[in-house]
Subunit: 580 residues, 2 copies
């Protein structure tokens, strides 16, 4: 970057991943050159400022032609020729990631072995040179068993599930041929609750940075939807990022660039590595619109030897929905047209034609301030691409978004009072949850609730309690979130006991206490807190306050008009109260 | 967009504005073709998928060549030939914005006249065919007087300030020649406090949308820095957006595309239109990284006849800093290198060479959750481009960012207690302000403070008061923000009077009340509120809570070790307290 003539990056492959790199390269003062069978007609070739080479990705002569005038060679696909890359390297060409990195990753069995030797958490796996080993693996790991081609697999191609012993022969033969004799291996069945993914970027200087963990929703082994951050516990997210960074760090000095790391979250809360791709990845497309620096920019920075960029999210939540070809272009483009009219949505079209059934034609990114605020647009997009929100074939459901405000109370006897808070949240359209959590009767539940609230994505907790009212204060001591306490009115001391118990917290642990029995105000305070960073919610609060004013002004007008005697008589009739 | 073969957009001009359109076009399935004197070597030409034409922007034959195969012609510069555009139109070519729109805008005097006739707020102006009219204008508007070429001006070129009567001759001649005989007009001096700008996009179907108002900082009449949203009152921001939308709507059906609208905010709070540019504009570059849909995408959408995109900001605050050439490329690139290592910064390099002094070479966008959080990075960038934060030659200072939390109290006697809240905010690195605002002694100041707080960008208010403690509740009734009340301890009733006055608010207006005299907890509650949407702040709160735990565990350990007698003796020695 500090040279006066911009470095040229050669990309092996000219598909959508190369294209998205090529569209970010110019503002970084980098030039792209690419190698693709379709040359200048490929999605990337059209934007390759330093020209493109037409030819096969494994053709050594073409690779040498690509390397001419390039400062570094990278790839957008791992199915390349490792010996050809090694030849380039032997001739002094910088290849990032290196031929050795690709060698390890390209053969999934070698990949598993490498990560196992480096202490990365993995499921069980075994090489299967022949059918006998598959049967042996069934004996060891049980059924079903995941059979995979060691090489050339992608989007579920090269994977087959062995469900019965009689499947072995046909499935083995199918994969053996599909993987072009690269061999077959197997993986013990992982009973996962979620598929997670983490993009990791490694710089030429060894720096390693990870993007936030996402939930990846697959259907028929094809990535369809990505939700960021992942809809699992914060603990699991951090664990996934750690596993992913550890895996990529273990690949050594030559592993320079971005890596897509797919992981399983098991029912027991363990995070296991699934597969690694040595390039920008479908599960990282959300970074284009949700993160400070996208996966494409960070890959370019890494391979160009530049400093790595900020991988943090600039928005509260994001989702990516793949647009797959449905056989007809006009029909396929309908999802795009829908997204163009949507708030905070961005369309990314790949310029491919024709729109063959199942072909990745583009994707839509959508962002929001929180998971619950993302959900409306996400639902519309899912519907448009024919995905149900819940219940799918292989990849599990899209986990429910977490609400913004939690309303809890010590007993259902508090519900009549506390429901006023719920009514307020409903009327302001803020996602909430309600539960009974008692400090004295369910202390373990209370601790779990309070400890996990912020990890789940709640931004505020309303807690109501009466008498020796410990719930709000106890919850406040266990969460970093703002806690609003509602002192429930008691028969013995009219709620003064509740008020003191909630309000008079020791230094260090605040509870935002509202008036005795005034859960409505607790709801309104939660709205103000949520609205402090949300223009739309704040506008609604301003309108609500105007409404209060108008009600009182109306009453004032009537009182002046009627005089107090008539007004009082009417009040008595209506059995209503004026003011509070 | 719903056609199966992507529309081709022809751009007159191949500079950075065209380039930034060209880099967004592919993902919308649009193709770019451009006309530029440097052809394929221009910043835009290299990414023009549908080819580029080498030639002058006013050359009718070249324009016709550009139009070949294009669905629509647009421009990245307004200094084009209106008759040539009209010829294109007469031959059935769609030109957006239309030749008539360009005719109105291109001649700044005609532009002023048009907007004046359409009731758009403007400063005073007058045509000056000769020097006599300039002298007449001085008589009418006074000195200094702003003299401008009617045509061909940009970045301050074509503008001259007449400060004395003896300036008239030389300045007139200079501009008359510079404007290539398009004539000269003048504007009465506007005593502005801020230069504002609003990007407005108008669709082919007549839809009009505006982006948020920004503050534009000029030096030597060149835009150097843009801060979004504008650092003026919310009222002024909304007024500017209204004026801008009104101006662009007045241009009629042919005005399709994005428009940069520059405005003045006067000392009296009036918003006056300054100039309009019929194209993407330097003051709209921040939209690339701060808004759902950038000005470039929205321009493309408008001219392609597509639906307009979301113009709202996805981040709390953003700034754009122009990188001007300093004569030497390596030196010029230093700002980029700096930005590459910065959080939430994005570099946009234009690919121009050489780095002539003052030439616009690129820009850096930086985003944050709030103005105060933006300031650190903004300061570093300003320093790198040689701009002081305050005090400049012509365009005024960069207005100070607003803090996130306001701490107010009824009297300075409350300060010893309230300073604990300030200490907490300081230790958590949260921008704050402190003031004395009394409900009973400065009611007008209180009303202004409360009403403007959210408009200025505050996200939370801490108010302390004692006895008949009205300040927190009164402030809460006038602001949509969360208000935290600190009941100050009183000598008569130990603060119970303060507690009841603050906590027992009527339905509709909540105050988040903390314990009597516990301003520390008010500070901590504000941190929790601010942290509810900020990972970094929340992390610090978690650490703080861990710290509390460790302190108590340490005390517990010592107590168990020493026994209570010795521990009490040591406490007495230290004059310290255990617990709270």
């Amino acid at each position: 970057m500090n040279a006066t003539s911009p470095p040229v990056i050669g990309i092996i492959g000219g598909g959508q991943l190369g294209r998205m790199m090529a569209l970010e390269a110019p503002r970084l003062s980098l030039k792209i050159r690419c190698l693709d069978a379709n040359g200048a007609d490929s999605p990337c070739g059209r934007y390759s400022e330093a020209g493109c080479v037409e030819g096969g990705l494994k053709d050594e002569a073409k690779l040498l032609e690509l390397a001419k005038g390039c400062n570094v060679i990278t790839m957008e696909i791992e199915h390349v020729s490792v010996p050809a890359l090694a030849t380039l390297e032997s001739q002094g060409v910088t290849v990032r990631p290196s031929s050795n990195t690709i060698r390890i990753i390209q053969d999934k069995y070698v990949q598993k072995d490498h990560f196992a030797r480096n202490g990365v958490a993995l499921g069980r796996y075994m090489d299967c040179p022949g059918k006998e080993e598959v049967r042996k693996a069934i004996g060891l790991f049980g059924l079903p068993l995941m059979l995979k081609s060691r090489k050339e697999g992608y989007d579920g191609r090269g994977n087959a599930v062995v469900r019965t012993l009689s499947d072995v022969d046909s499935k083995f033969d199918e994969l053996y041929n599909a993987g072009k004799s690269g061999g077959v291996y197997c993986e013990g069945w992982v009973d996962f609750v979620d598929e997670l993914a983490v993009m990791v970027v490694k710089g030429a200087n060894g720096d390693v940075k990870s993007y936030p963990t996402v939930t990846a929703i697959q259907r028929d082994s094809v990535c369809r939807v990505v939700v960021a951050p992942a809809r699992c516990s914060r603990e699991a997210r951090l664990k996934a990022e750690e596993v992913a960074r550890k895996a990529i760090s273990s690949l050594g000095d030559g592993a320079v660039g971005i890596f897509g790391v797919e992981l399983f979250l098991t029912r027991e809360g363990d995070v296991l590595l699934n597969e690694v791709a040595p390039r920008p990845h479908n599960t990282g497309h959300y970074t284009q619109d949700a993160c400070a620096v996208s996966q494409f920019e960070n890959h370019l920075r890494a391979v160009a030897g530049m400093e790595l960029g900020d991988t943090s999210m600039c928005v509260g939540a994001a989702a990516m929905v793949n647009v797959l070809g449905c056989g007809e272009m006009r029909e396929t483009l309908k999802v795009n047209d829908l997204a163009l009219g949507m708030e905070r949505a961005t369309v990314h079209w790949y310029g491919k034609s024709p729109a063959k059934k199942g072909r990745k034609m583009g994707h839509v990114n959508v962002t929001a301030d929180s998971e619950s605020e993302l959900q409306t647009n996400l639902k519309i997009l899912l519907d448009a691409v024919g995905l149900p929100e819940e219940g799918g074939k292989d990849g599990g459901d899209i986990p429910k978004p977490e609400p913004l405000v939690g309303v809890i109370m010590g007993s259902d006897s508090d519900l009549p009072a506390m429901s006023k808070a719920v009514d307020i949240l409903k009327s302001f359209g803020i996602a909430y949850e309600v539960d009974i959590v008692s400090a004295h009767r369910t202390p373990e539940k209370m601790m779990d609730y309070a400890r996990l609230a912020h990890q789940r994505g709640l931004q505020c907790i309303i807690a109501g309690a009466g008498g020796a009212a410990h719930l709000p204060g106890m919850v406040a001591s266990l969460t970093p979130l703002p806690v609003i306490g509602v002192p429930i009115k008691t028969s013995t001391l009219s709620g003064v006991d509740s008020l003191y118990s909630i309000c008079q917290m020791p230094r260090g642990i605040p509870v935002a206490t509202v008036a005795i029995g005034n859960a409505e105000n607790a709801g309104l305070l939660a709205v103000r807190i949520v609205g402090s960073t949300r223009e739309g919610v704040m506008e609604k609060m301003i309108e609500y306050q105007k409404g209060l004013k108008e009600v009182v002004e109306g009453k004032s007008e009537r009182l002046v008009e009627m005089g107090s005697t008539e007004y009082l008589a009417q009040m008595a009739n209506k059995n209503a109260t004026v003011g509070v």
